[in-house]
């Protein structure tokens, strides 16, 4: 982890920025979709090529790039593609390239990848801090476009987290002290979507919901994993207490999911619980914990995306985002059921779709260090499962909201772009689970 950032990859990092530019050149739906997705797809292919160039699944670096960093970037890109596919539904206009739904995610992909591919400790922290500031400015931008989108307490939280990270990157010596470690952990916890106060509640525009999901639900697991790559260099002889604290923080997120008024709160809580387990696994420093942590880090954003896409599709049709308002809404749109089933099953960590083996490795790592913490993770897994199951039943098996005949016809329809997005997100989720099951996310074998 002491290799300088390879500047030769900068042109590749700029590839996603071509998306909003190319998009404006085409007016028809299909061509515009291809033009939007192509640059990001090429970027992902480049990342995949670099990952495959590694001789065996391992944590080592090749050509100045770490395998984990490449996987995090790849995951971010994979999350972006379905979002761009949904955006192609919007009517073309001369100002099409200026849509925040297109350029903001593309910019995030470039910036995020730059941060994830950094290997110096101070660079990683600075990258994390800058990424935090980028999220903050994105939130500010969205707040301008959709008044009242974010609460001040939430924006302050992100700001504080970013400042902590930047301070640590400038004062590298701090990291080797317990105070520095505590500061880093505090910064990480501030990026957790829950249990701290909810971020937004009023806006129901699908574009806002999708970007909000990308910024504050899908990105945090990747960011937190990236920052914890510096952990082995910190001076903490016994991490059990810290692991317990982080795990407890994640479990507290489930309180928000259980008592949720808004659907996004449920997703926040479930994602936080997963992040708590992920961080606890990484803090153990064991190969199993690290492999399981990486598995979770790449699965959580994808499951959140799939669930979030379904919910934003429902919100777009019913114009409400409360749990009670969307009760039974999913039952009216058949293709959504499969997508949401996959997302819910991931939340339940079921085999084939849920990264069960990733969680197994994670718990194995934690249990090895402290059986009591292992029991904590098991309890968290069960509670997460119970809440995911409750969500599944609430949206798809309850009595649908009353609608007029005309409205029902509108609600039943699904746009082609949405179908493509659901298909792509489901496909990537399944492929990721398969890759992790085959041991691609770690080098340790017993």
């Amino acid at each position: 982890m002491r290799t300088a950032f390879p500047l030769s990859i900068l042109p590749f990092l700029a590839l996603p920025l071509l998306s909003p530019l190319l998009r404006t050149l085409f007016s028809s739906g299909r061509r515009r979709a291809v033009a939007t997705v192509l640059p990001v797809g090429l970027f992902l292919l480049w990342l995949l090529g670099r990952i495959l160039s590694f001789p065996v699944p391992s944590f080592f670096m090749v050509g100045g790039l770490s395998r984990e960093g490449l996987l995090l970037s790849l995951c971010l890109g994979v999350v972006l593609i379905p979002l761009l596919l949904v955006q192609t539904e919007k009517t073309g206009s001369s100002k099409d390239g200026r849509r925040p739904g297109v350029w903001l995610p593309c910019l995030l992909l470039s910036a995020g990848s730059a941060a994830f591919l950094e290997n110096e400790v101070s660079g990683i922290l600075a990258g994390g801090g800058l990424l935090g500031l980028f999220l903050l400015s994105g939130a500010g931008f969205l707040g301008g476009a959709y008044p009242g989108a974010y609460r001040n307490a939430f924006l302050l939280r992100i700001l504080a987290g970013s400042i902590f990270l930047l301070a640590l990157s400038f004062k590298g010596a701090l990291l080797s002290t317990p105070a520095g470690g505590a500061l880093l952990l505090a910064a990480l916890l501030l990026f957790f979507p829950a249990p701290l106060s909810r971020r937004s509640e009023r806006v129901v525009a699908p574009e806002f919901l999708q970007l909000d999901m990308l910024f504050f639900l899908c990105l945090p697991p990747l960011l937190v994993f990236d920052l914890l790559r510096v952990w082995p260099s910190l001076a903490f002889p016994d991490t059990t207490l810290l692991e317990g604290g982080v795990l407890g923080w994640g479990l507290l997120g489930l309180v928000r999911a259980k008592t949720a008024h808004y659907v996004s709160e449920v997703a926040d809580g479930l994602s936080s619980a997963g992040m708590g387990a992920m961080v606890a696994g990484l803090l153990t420093g064991s190969a199993a914990g690290r492999e399981g942590g990486l598995f979770l880090a790449v699965l959580l954003p994808q499951a959140s995306l799939l669930g979030g896409l379904v919910l934003s599709a429902l919100i777009a049709r019913f114009r409400v985002r409360t749990v009670a308002g969307l009760s039974g809404a999913g039952a009216m749109i058949a293709p959504l059921r499969l997508a949401f089933l996959l997302a819910a099953f991931q939340g339940m960590s079921l085999p084939v779709v849920g990264g069960l083996l990733g969680e197994w490795r994670l718990i194995e790592g934690i249990f090895e260090q402290s059986p009591a913490l292992g029991v904590g993770v098991l309890i968290g897994l069960f509670l997460t499962f119970a809440l995911a199951l409750a969500s599944l039943r609430r949206y798809f098996s309850s009595v649908p909201p009353p609608l007029s005949r005309g409205d029902r016809e509108v609600v039943k329809g699904l746009w082609p772009g949405e179908l493509w997005a659901f298909g792509a997100a489901s496909f990537f989720l399944l492929v990721t689970d398969l890759a992790g099951t085959l041991g691609w996310f770690g080098g340790a074998r017993l």
């Binding site: 249990p195 079921l350 069960f382 039943r393 041991g439």
Partner: protein
């Protein structure tokens, strides 16, 4: 790949292929009912292949196969294979599934998602076959989970019925709670043995039994056992089973004949672990006993036919668990096969029985229509009744043990089974005939002949099955010795049980035959309360809801207020 290996691979592959084809047809909009035959035929083929594989396993030993992929953290040792236990279970699973699918062809005709249902049943069959052929604890856990998922999807098949979906969710939740314990057990096994390969674990326990402390081993076994408890509806994880009556009848049949047996199967598969932890064996026995008592008593108070069958299954599962706790693991498998077959039959017949009862006003028959107790039944005639209903069953059961060469003095478990057989035969005799036949010895002869044939056949078959499943005498001896408590403690228990049986017979005789109640009034005064207790299923769910769920809910809202402030929360 040898032919027998290929056949073993096809056992789960055929139903899976059938399921995938049906899902594909369903997705493509092919709605013809004939497509369901794909699942049926593929499962039936799997059953016949299972017969061939069983033959091969008996002739040339277990078939061990390697999976084409390596799972993270798992290396070495075959993950998958077919031995005698697996082969028997495969036959049960595929056989019951074939019958259930054949029954459903007409039963569900015209229902929405007809093809999808058959696809799900075939997929669940494939998962069950993989479960019983896995030889690694983690792989078993993977398929254990998939089985729960399949059951959830089958139970929630009719999405329009809110109750069915709710019950499916409750079942999934209870199973998952047990699964967490099972996962904890697997983690302890990994920490203790550094492997999850069951053959390797058995080898370690055989060569160096002191490698793992009794405390750790007991924790491991008990965690695995809780996983089995949830799946096999053991008290207090039982409440999901009787509530599953909203599901289609074929699903109930599959569930009661196949899926609830998973706990018994897992105890058998990991029997070597159980056998090295006598404390756990005693606890297993106690849980099984409690479940059998609770399930059977509650069954008597229920008025719904399917719910009655549900509690009957619970009682039988309790009995099966008791058998494991006594070290008679093979008997548990024998029992679950017998129970699986007869319970599937009962469920599939229950719909017809209810339909007949609805049409025929003479059903149910009133008590007044039953012939009264013969007049002139004197105390002098009580002697033949006692001989035929109490002494004769004991003589027959003892004779059957003697003929099957089962030595009662060596194994405590066999004595317990002798008592159970005695009670069962005696109770069957009393309840089926109400002792009317036995006012003379001549009238009792045909009934006695039936009993002799049945008891000798059952005990003989069970004994042969024991020798077939666990041919090694040392293994059998280890199991029974682990389930024993020592003769010093056992003798008073035997005396007490004998007293209870005889006393019970006396009460039944006076109440049923003489029409007199001889129980003291303080017991009689509690009869109603006891009846209500069982009618309300012990109020387990009520207590759980009001003492656990509601306080936790209140606590969660308090916590939320901490984060959001009272107004926003």
């Amino acid at each position: 790949m040898a032919m027998q290996d290929g056949a073993a691979v096809l056992l789960p592959a055929l139903p899976l292929l059938g399921a995938l084809l049906l899902f594909l047809f369903d997705a493509c909009g092919v709605k013809s009912p004939r497509t369901a035959l794909i699942a049926l035929v593929s499962t039936a083929f799997s059953f016949f292949l299972g017969l061939f594989v069983l033959w091969e396993v008996i002739a040339s030993g277990p078939l061990l196969l390697r999976l084409p992929v390596t799972l993270p953290g798992l290396a070495g040792g075959p993950l998958w294979g077919v031995d005698r236990l697996s082969a028997i279970m495969v036959l049960l699973v595929t056989g019951v599934s074939t019958v259930v699918q054949a029954y459903s062809l007409r039963y569900l005709l015209g229902e929405p998602d007809y093809g999808r249902f058959f696809g799900l049943v075939a997929a669940e069959t494939s998962v069950l076959v993989m479960l019983v052929t896995s030889r690694n604890l983690l792989l078993i856990f993977v398929f254990w989970q998939l089985m729960s998922l399949g059951l959830y999807l089958l139970m929630a098949h009719n999405r329009r019925r809110r109750n069915a979906v709710d019950t499916a969710g409750k079942t999934f939740l209870v199973h998952r709670a047990g699964d967490m314990f099972m996962l904890a057990g697997i983690l302890i096994a990994k920490e203790s043995f550094h492997t999850l390969d069951l053959d390797r674990i058995a080898e370690i326990l055989k060569n160096t039994p002191e490698a793992v402390s009794q405390g750790t081993l007991s924790a491991l076994v008990l965690c695995l056992f809780v996983g089995c408890m949830a799946k096999s509806a053991q008290f207090p994880f039982h409440f999901w089973l009787p509530d599953t009556m909203e599901t289609p009848t074929p699903v109930s049949a599959l569930m009661h004949a196949g899926i609830v047996n998973a706990g018994g199967y897992l105890m058998n598969r990991t029997s070597i672990l159980f056998a090295h932890s006598p404390l756990s064996m005693h606890l297993v026995f106690a849980v099984g006993f409690l479940t059998a008592l609770f399930g059977s008593s509650t069954m008597l108070t229920q008025s719904d036919v399917k719910r009655k069958l549900g509690f009957s299954t619970m009682g039988q599962m309790g009995y099966m668990t008791m058998e494991c706790g006594l070290g008679a693991f093979s008997l548990a498998v024998f029992h679950l096969i017998a129970h699986g077959i007869f319970k599937a039959t009962l469920f599939l017949e229950s719909g017809t029985a209810i339909a007949i009862a609805r049409k025929d006003p003479a059903i149910p028959r009133r008590m007044a229509e039953e012939p009264a107790t013969p007049e002139g039944f004197h105390l002098s005639r009580g002697l033949p009744v006692a001989l035929v209903t109490l002494v004769l069953p004991l003589v027959i059961v003892l004779g059957a043990h003697q003929l099957a060469d089962i030595h009662l003095s060596r194994e405590e478990g066999t004595v317990v089974f002798l008592f159970f057989s005695w009670v069962t035969v005696s109770q069957v005799t009393i309840s089926l005939t109400r002792a009317r036949l036995f006012d003379s010895f001549a009238a009792a002869i045909p009934w006695t002949a039936v009993l002799v044939l049945f008891v000798y056949g059952y005990i003989g078959a069970a004994h042969k099955f024991n020798l077939f499943l666990y041919p090694d005498p040392a293994t059998r001896a280890l199991y029974f010795s682990s389930g024993g408590v020592g003769w010093v403690m056992f003798t008073p228990i035997v005396l007490l049980i004998t007293f209870v049986i005889v006393a019970g017979w006396v009460v039944a005789f006076f109440r049923g035959v003489r029409g007199r109640q001889i129980l003291p009034s303080w017991i009689l005064s509690r009869q109603e309360a006891l009846y209500l207790f069982f009618l309300n299923r012990g109020s387990v769910e009520h207590l759980f809801l009001h003492r656990v769920v509601e306080p936790v809910d209140r606590l969660l809202w308090r916590l939320r207020e901490l984060f959001d402030g009272k107004e926003r929360a």
